[in-house]
């Protein structure tokens, strides 16, 4: 039996005006286990807290009930008070007699009766409270960033800058991501490569950063502070320690017909290649799908020309195991596949291009050397139509996405502006549903495109694009003028919706991080915890969480990094003590709890138990990792035998409250 002290707060007149606090403290003094009961003007004041402290000592209280404002206000205050008096902070229960009683009732008798009942429920609960200790778990001071785009790079740089080790895993042969393919950036029109490549070099040179390029995460085990990750380093067939990146092999390779993914297949590369001049790491990679030597053992030119003797046709994938305290997902995005959008003729005409392809066609390092030429005939286009929201903001249907891809309005304004600037003889049309420009200097930028550069912005949808006699017949409607338009265009540029990278879904499963229906990672709280996954120790950076432009991505990357730094700067993590706990003797080992745990906190072990008549029984029983469990209680209800219970909100505690309220 506990020795319980009850402290009824007046909260000035907030409670005392509608609740007879004296009657409450007297009535509660009659409850079993209560050895002291009083009321005071402000329990949360220093004097009030001193009162609690003194009475804990005077009466040797083992439990404290404070009838006051919401526990969301002062539960922590009173827990700390009790802790200072030597009482376990989890031996405190709050009866909410302000927000949920005095403030909502006018009849004093009624409110007083309710306050007594709420007090009884708290007393009944505290009778069953047990002292709880928050456990600790050590933190491995190393972070993993999955994805080496601008998001991953920035996160890694910031973490490294704080003095922590950080690894980047990038599935492509080089880091840099989508930003490497972009020509200019809005709204400043500075060159993407000029601002990105120094950061890539910083990564390579930073002592705290290790880059696993051409690598993928194979498995993730463990939990916050203690992740164990298996990384698959794919075979490049080139010894990266020897390769100098001279590029001779990429010139001599006889296999010239490999679509160059860096230029989105607008030109070709060799079977051995370096994606682009500023690649990091700048080493060659053999594409096993095209290399004759690897496919049928005939060739070997690259090995012959390589002065560094770096070619190794027998190289195998390598599995690396590494431990991390935190993991950042920065898996980025891709434009959606446009082949389903037949109405825009994407598959029929090479002159219908996606915005990213257009980006390459404008880029000095692109397939055309920066001169805007039509892919079909290499001629200069005079009329260009930009179509917005291709696959974005689609309700239903399997083709598109329900969300706004966010970046298209701005990059289209940029493209249109650049066209008009470089080639004033071109007519540029932009068809849009809405123009969305909420960002610093964004709207000004868009208006410049319209007002200074003379881009024709037309509110309306393009219905059809039909290739005909070397032209693209564009049928569209102008919603503001309410008329049908027919434009003979030379090029059509589609602002394709963006979607999370396909690798994100399996990764989320490995991380037990939740995703939304569009496969974007879910944040722990949409407003207050935007860069954390609900799974502890998993952080989100960049477009894998939702569509973002570069400044937003960099901002989020920095935010994720600061969260990681905050985590890694701790030697130990203090765990939430109100975690699930299985009674092994009653556990069936059925995995029901494991299936509903959103955090992957539950595992199973085979454990020996003493059976009747000196026998031993091997039984499968659940184990909860208190460092991972967040205490939601989903498992406690999934558990049929009642083996799984939640500390601080146990079955018996809740039922005791029910009993007290209903009697």
């Amino acid at each position: 039996m506990q020795k319980i002290g009850v402290f009824v707060c007046w909260c000035g007149s907030n409670i005392a005006a509608t609740v007879d606090v004296e009657a409450v403290s007297q009535a509660l003094a009659q409850e079993p286990g209560v050895v002291f009961s009083t009321n005071y003007q402000y329990m949360c004041s220093q004097t009030g807290q001193d009162l609690i402290r003194d009475k804990i000592k005077e009466y040797g209280l083992t439990g404290v009930v404070v009838c006051s404002c919401s526990p969301r206000m002062h539960e922590n205050t009173f827990r700390k008070t009790c802790e200072k008096a030597g009482l376990n902070p989890y031996m405190v229960e709050i009866a909410n007699i302000r927000e949920q009683c005095s403030w909502i009732h006018k009849d004093k008798a009624e409110a007083t009766e309710k306050a007594i009942i709420l007090g009884r429920a708290a007393i009944a609960k505290v009778q069953l409270n047990a002292p709880l200790q928050a456990g600790t778990s050590p933190v491995k001071k190393r972070a993993l960033v999955i994805g080496g785009g601008i998001a991953g790079i920035q996160t890694a740089l910031d973490i490294a800058d704080a003095g922590f080790q950080v690894d980047i895993v990038e599935k492509k042969p080089t880091i840099g991501g989508k930003m490497t393919q972009i020509d200019k950036t809005f709204p400043t029109l500075d060159c993407a490569a000029c601002i990105l490549t120094p950061k890539m070099v910083d990564c390579a040179q930073n002592e705290n950063i290790h880059i696993y390029a051409y690598s993928e995460v194979e498995a993730v085990k463990g939990f916050v502070g203690n992740f164990k990750v298996t990384i698959r380093k794919k075979a490049r067939f080139v010894d990266t320690t020897k390769c100098t990146g001279c590029g001779l092999c990429t010139e001599k390779c006889p296999q010239k017909k490999v679509p160059n993914e860096f230029n989105l297949g607008l030109d070709n590369r060799r079977a051995i290649y370096i994606p682009f001049a500023q690649a990091v790491p700048k080493v060659a990679t053999i594409d096993p799908d095209y290399c004759n030597m690897l496919k049928n053992g005939k060739c070997g030119v690259c090995a012959k020309v390589c002065g560094a003797n770096a070619i190794d046709y027998k190289q195998q994938d390598e599995l690396i195991e590494e431990e991390y305290g935190a993991i950042v997902a920065a898996t980025g995005f891709n434009p959606i596949d446009l082949s389903k959008f037949n109405e825009f003729g994407y598959s029929q005409s090479p002159d219908v291009v996606s915005s990213l392809e257009f980006e390459r066609l404008m880029n000095a390092a692109g397939p055309t050397g920066g001169t805007l030429l039509r892919p079909s005939d290499g001629k200069h286009p005079h009329t260009i139509v930009f179509v917005q929201c291709v696959g974005s903001r689609c309700d239903g249907g399997e083709k598109g996405k329900p969300y706004c891809s966010k970046i298209c309005c701005m990059y289209t304004a940029k493209h249109a502006m650049l066209c008009r600037e470089k080639y004033p003889d071109t007519d540029v049309y932009v068809f849009y549903i809405d123009v969305r420009t909420p960002g610093k200097n964004f709207d000004e930028f868009y208006r410049r495109a319209v007002e200074e550069y003379g881009v024709h912005y037309i509110k309306g949808m393009v219905g059809k694009v039909v290739p005909e006699n070397g032209k693209l017949k564009v049928q569209a409607s102008d919603l503001l003028d309410n008329r049908q338009l027919h434009i003979d265009a030379d090029m059509v540029v589609l602002a394709a919706a963006i979607e999370p990278d396909k690798s994100a879904r399996p990764l989320a499963t490995m991380l037990t991080a939740s995703m939304d229906t569009n496969d974007f990672f879910t944040e722990a709280h949409p407003k207050l915890r935007p860069v954390e996954s609900p799974t502890a120790g998993i952080f989100l950076s960049g477009a894998c969480q939702g569509p973002k432009d570069i400044p937003e991505t960099v901002a989020q990357a920095g935010a994720a990094a600061s969260k990681v730094i905050g985590l890694l700067s701790k030697d130990h993590l203090l765990c939430n003590p109100c975690t699930a706990q299985p009674d092994e003797m009653m556990c069936n080992g059925c995995s029901s709890c494991e299936k509903v745990c959103p955090y992957g906190a539950i595992t199973y072990i085979d454990k020996e138990f003493r059976g009747p008549n000196r026998t031993t029984l091997l039984r499968r029983v659940a184990q909860v990792n208190p460092a991972v469990c967040q205490g939601c209680g989903a498992c406690t209800v999934a558990c049929m035998s009642g083996a799984m219970d939640l500390k601080g909100f146990s079955n018996r505690q809740i039922m005791a409250e029910v009993d007290a309220i209903c009697k």
Binding site: S70, E99, C632, G633, A634, M655
Partner: protein
């Protein structure tokens, strides 16, 4: 300790800590009235609500039981209320199947910002249960003495 002679129902409201309990607090902060026979029990998440607690409440004299949780999709623990939703749907359906008035049980999603919704929900629920009268079909006579 009955204050009024007139019968009023006993209502147990289970509220999740993160949304609905905060919503209830907000309705208090805004001084939005609802009857005093509603008593709230704080649970971490709607998925913590074991059907046994609901039956227990009826056994011990409750006339209505309501569960309030975060709106689907907004669960603090991401998925808790989705599980709670299935569990409660099936449980309520079973109670109905046994001939127990279905209006005695309810689930409402109340966010931390919906103080007004919380109060309105409670007012409506109390009205509904009052109209039904005493819980006779799932009572335990030993608790009525």
């Amino acid at each position: 300790m009955q204050v009024n002679k007139e019968w009023t129902p006993t209502i147990v409201a289970f509220c999740c800590n993160w949304c609905s309990y905060a919503g209830a607090d907000l309705s208090g902060t805004n001084r939005l009235q609802y009857p005093a026979n509603v008593k709230i029990i704080r649970i971490p998440c709607s998925c913590r609500l074991n059907p046994m607690f609901i039956l227990r409440a009826f056994q011990r004299g409750a006339d209505g039981v309501i569960l309030c949780g975060c709106h689907p999709g907004d669960c603090h623990y991401t998925t808790g209320n989705y599980y709670a939703r299935r569990r409660m749907t099936l449980l309520f359906s079973m109670l109905e199947y046994l001939g127990i008035e279905r209006e005695r049980t309810r689930v409402e999603w109340v966010s931390a910002a919906e103080g007004a919704k919380f109060a309105a929900t409670m007012n409506d629920f109390v009205k509904t249960v009052t109209a039904l009268g005493e819980n006779k079909r799932l009572e335990d006579l030993r608790c009525k003495e």
